[in-house]
């Protein structure tokens, strides 16, 4: 894959090392604690899914891990350094985050949007190499034939893919996606998860993703972090979490597990 065209600075963090770390982090809004004393670790070069019921604090947690929000107490470490010690443009070359973006109403073409992914690297003038990243990201998300359309002419799924392409063009080691499967049909959900899998396996990206459908978490991720009521409910390898006992603890539901093609499928229709 040609996304990594420029020689990347070698990081001392190898695949499998804990590269993003959250230590005893808490956060409250208006006196209400939304994240309570959570400690987690994310391995480099893996896909980590954040699961849990609505209002469990997943979005807040990943917002703090990308500095969109400050944390009240505790520590967030990116490759061993506190996140607050990074300059904002420096961090933007390392960690990118895509929040639920359905309320954005700026009139940009897909290509323009994706090109802004290069903003942290070359503020005003994009070099030839930058445009290479843009082209690759557009191809990777299969947006070539609609690259000159305005965002408001696209369907929800196409828009979502355009935003992901923008994050790809940003070319960060760590990619955080908050419910990227929202508004997507099954076909596009699967294709996006497969793309993420490829990014992770081929390019060594570390991907953090909030998902609601636990079967997407089960089939495509390496690790799972489960939250409930602002607390960490469980964390570990995918196969350690996907079992009736742990899921019962997270969701208060009896969930059966079936094995289909070596994937664990959760049956939650009761």
């Amino acid at each position: 894959m040609a996304l990594n065209m420029l020689e990347r600075q070698k990081s001392q963090f190898e695949t499998g090392d804990i590269a993003l770390e959250v230590k005893n982090v808490s956060k409250s809004f208006d006196g209400k604690k939304v994240v309570k004393d959570v400690s987690i670790g994310v391995r480099k070069g893996s896909i980590t899914s954040f699961i849990g019921p609505n209002g469990a604090g997943k979005s807040t947690l990943i917002s703090m891990m990308s500095r969109l929000m400050s944390h009240d107490s505790g520590e967030v470490l990116v490759e061993g350094k506190p996140i607050k010690s990074y300059k904002s443009d420096e961090l933007a070359k390392k960690v990118s985050i895509l929040k639920q973006a359905n309320n954005i109403n700026i009139r940009l073409t897909v290509r323009e949007l994706v090109s802004f992914g290069r903003f942290p690297h070359s503020r005003n003038r994009l070099s030839k190499a930058d445009w290479g990243y843009v082209d690759n990201a557009i191809d990777y998300m299969e947006l070539r034939d609609m690259q000159d359309k305005y965002l408001d002419q696209l369907s929800g799924g196409q828009k979502q893919r355009a935003f992901i392409a923008m994050v790809l063009a940003q070319d960060t080691d760590y990619i955080i996606l908050d419910e990227p499967l929202n508004n997507l049909d099954m076909k596009h959900s699967v294709s996006i998860m497969k793309t993420l899998r490829k990014l992770c396996d081929d390019l060594g990206k570390t991907i953090l993703i909030v998902v609601h459908d636990i079967n997407f978490a089960s089939c495509y991720s390496d690790d799972i972090i489960a939250m409930k009521d602002g607390e960490l409910a469980a964390q570990g390898h995918c196969h350690e979490i996907i079992n009736p006992t742990t899921l019962k603890k997270i969701y208060d539901m009896d969930i059966g597990i079936e094995e289909v093609n070596c994937n664990k499928i959760c049956v939650y229709f009761t």
């Binding site: 990308s66 904002s88 420096e90 109403n105 700026i106 073409t109 323009e112 802004f116 903003f119 408001d152």
Partner: protein, 317 residues
């Protein structure tokens, strides 16, 4: 809408503007102008043309920046109350510092415009219900309150009449020596060009900006500073010209999108052209009298804007 059509249009309209007016100046007669005719051209007509172009460019750019930063197509110096604050500033300058120079008035008007715009932005941060229509309504209400205060004090100090001249903008009093403060808009527009990419990123919202490593607060402040200075300079010299900063960026956005890189030059040129057309029409329609420019912009602008609203309902939401 292409630059190569906009520039000739601007030049053509500029020439027309120079040779339209009460005193008979004909372009075909330029080789044997009397001294008096030359004076009319250089002291009155040329300054007027320059003032119109600068105001057209800078107010449109100010409107564009505001719309981008608030992520709302209905926000402009008019609908956010910036104009009303600037006017209150002028009144305060007149009352508090009798015989204040234009420069001092500008400064006080600028401080008020800036404070008022920041207040508006703070209110925006606070309200949860950020409907496209609701946001400018807040601005309009705020502006009306400020206006009421201005009128009250103007009444108390017997300044209603001179206040009215600030209410309705007019280019007919522009003469060499009394409009030059407008030049302050030129460097500000240049700064806007330099920051174009950053304003576009800011227009994607706070989360996107931070993910892309943009110092959101700083860009916000720079943008609002530009808007406040431009508005204040225009109100002090010409008076208020409603709608200009609202319509022009909207028309350009429909055709060129919101990537400021692409739309800023067009917004600037189209703003100047639109204002020139309004001014020429205003001078010709009831010749030898003149329709105030604010009225012309208001009438033509609101008709155009209404048309846009009805035609592209889905666009603003």
């Amino acid at each position: 809408m292409k630059i190569k059509y906009l520039i000739p249009a601007l030049i053509l309209l500029s020439i027309i503007s120079l040779f339209v007016g009460v005193q008979d100046l004909s372009i075909w007669n330029i080789h044997n102008f009397t001294e008096e005719q030359w004076e009319t051209l250089l002291i009155s007509r040329l300054p007027r043309l320059l003032a119109i172009i600068i105001v057209g460019v800078s107010l449109s750019v100010a409107g564009l920046i505001m719309q981008q930063l608030t992520q709302n197509k209905f926000v402009s110096p008019t609908t956010a109350g910036t104009l009303d604050w600037a006017r209150l500033g002028i009144l305060v300058a007149i009352i508090a510092f009798a015989g204040a120079s234009t420069m001092e008035r500008l400064f006080v008007a600028f401080l008020f415009a800036l404070g008022g715009t920041f207040l508006f932005m703070r209110i925006l941060e606070r309200i949860r219900y950020k409907n496209v229509i609701f946001v400018p309504l807040v601005g309009l209400m705020l502006g009306s309150v400020v206006n009421a205060v201005t009128t009250f004090f103007a009444y108390q100090y017997d300044l209603i009449q001179s206040l009215n001249s600030w209410m309705q903008g007019s280019f007919s009093l522009v003469l060499r020596g009394n409009f030059e403060i407008l030049y302050i808009g030129i460097p500000l527009v240049i700064i806007a060009f330099i920051f174009a990419n950053r304003f576009t990123v800011a227009g994607m919202g706070r989360d996107f900006s931070q993910s892309l490593g943009l110092n959101y607060k700083q860009i916000m402040n720079i943008g609002l500073l530009i808007v406040a200075v431009i508005t204040a300079a225009v109100v002090v010299t010409i008076g208020s010209i409603p709608f200009l900063g609202l319509i022009i960026p909207n028309i350009v956005s429909i055709m060129r999108g919101d990537n400021l890189r692409n739309s800023l030059p067009h917004t600037a040129l189209f703003g100047a052209i639109f204002l020139l057309i309004c001014d020429i029409l205003g001078r010709v329609l009831i010749y030898p009298y003149e329709i105030p420019i604010g009225l012309m912009v208001g009438v033509i602008g609101s008709a155009l804007f209404l048309y846009l609203l009805l035609r592209r309902k889905s666009y603003a939401t």
